[in-house]
């Protein structure tokens, strides 16, 4: 399985990668710092699961989400965001995300996510 972690924060990316590695022995993990980079990785690597932040420079998660699914309709996108407003959750689900999870993500929360998807 290939995983893509998209977040402009190094801390958030490190935290997601660590929690992924705690749950999956041989995870192939790619990283991107915004939506533009995420689209490039989606083109080149076709990751199966994408962890996507919403508030990012260049291209935010709302804009990137449908474009990622356009490139690979089979990818599962989990939005990982600090924006926990009900309307934000509804919006990303309508755009095609499988899940909306509140930041920060630890190993237990990651296990929950992986069990669900």
């Amino acid at each position: 399985m290939k995983y893509l972690v998209v977040d402009d924060s190094k801390l958030a990316r490190l935290s997601l990668v660590k929690s992924l590695k705690a749950n999956i022995e041989k995870a192939e993990i790619f990283q991107a710092v915004n939506g533009v980079e995420a689209l490039k990785v989606m083109h080149s690597e076709k990751p199966n699961i994408v962890f996507l932040d919403l508030t990012m420079p260049e291209m935010d998660g709302y804009e990137a989400l449908p474009k990622l699914l356009e490139i690979n309709a089979n990818a599962k996108v989990v939005v990982v965001s600090a924006d926990i407003q009900t309307k934000a959750k509804e919006r990303v689900i309508a755009l095609g995300a499988q899940l909306h999870m509140q930041k920060p993500i630890n190993a237990d929360k990651m296990k929950e996510i992986l069990d669900i998807i």
Binding site: L11, M56, I84, K87, K103
Partner: protein
């Protein structure tokens, strides 16, 4: 006076912690106003107080409501919330408020909920606790900001600023968290320990 600066990694960690805290605070306020807010990326910088006053002057509003709330603990400082007259009027309209007293009260409550939720969550993320003083509200012209007593306690501050932005209701505010000199070294140590745990 010792001059501090934050490394790129320290800024990144603080920005992300602030992002999480602000997300929580915004959700509470959005529910209170029954509206949807768009979130922006927090901006972090260490500056001298006179630069801070210049930053405030960039708000380019002639008249605005300005409220502050001090917090104490290992992490010590003050949060400040600005909302200009137009946004305040839109807030009054949105909440169907009839008098200026009601509007003052609504802004104070908004400040209290916003800044205390924000600072509490930020402190939790850094594994510490803070206590709050009551928020105070003033309506002052821009050129008098330098006379505001809140900023006389600071020589150098870490400023974390972000926007409160309810697009549909045309309500926009700006939030600053100002950290006192004595908290800066504590903050730097804490940010580095958070990062080291992940590497």
């Amino acid at each position: 006076m010792q001059v501090f600066d934050l490394t790129e990694d320290e800024k990144d960690v603080l920005q992300e912690l602030m992002n999480v805290a602000y997300g929580n605070a915004t959700a509470v306020v959005a529910e209170m106003l029954d509206a949807f807010a768009s979130l922006s990326i927090p901006n972090i910088k260490v500056i001298q107080t006179d630069e801070l006053l210049a930053t405030f002057s960039e708000l380019k509003s002639e008249s605005y409501f300005f409220s502050t709330q001090a917090f104490n603990g290992e992490f010590k400082g003050e949060s400040a919330f600005f909302i200009n007259q137009t946004s305040a009027n839109n807030l009054a309209k949105h909440l169907e408020l009839e008098s200026s007293e009601d509007l003052d009260d609504a802004i104070l409550e908004l400040t209290n909920v916003l800044t205390s939720t924000l600072t509490t969550k930020l402190s939790q993320e850094m594994d510490t606790e803070v206590s709050f003083s009551l928020p105070s509200l003033s309506k002052i012209p821009l050129q008098e900001i330098g006379k505001t007593s809140a900023f006389k306690h600071y020589s150098q501050v870490i400023v974390i600023d972000t926007d409160l932005n309810f697009q549909d209701q045309q309500i926009h505010g700006k939030i600053f968290i100002l950290t006192k000199d004595e908290s800066i070294q504590w903050l730097k140590t804490k940010l580095n320990s958070i990062l080291e745990l992940l590497i």
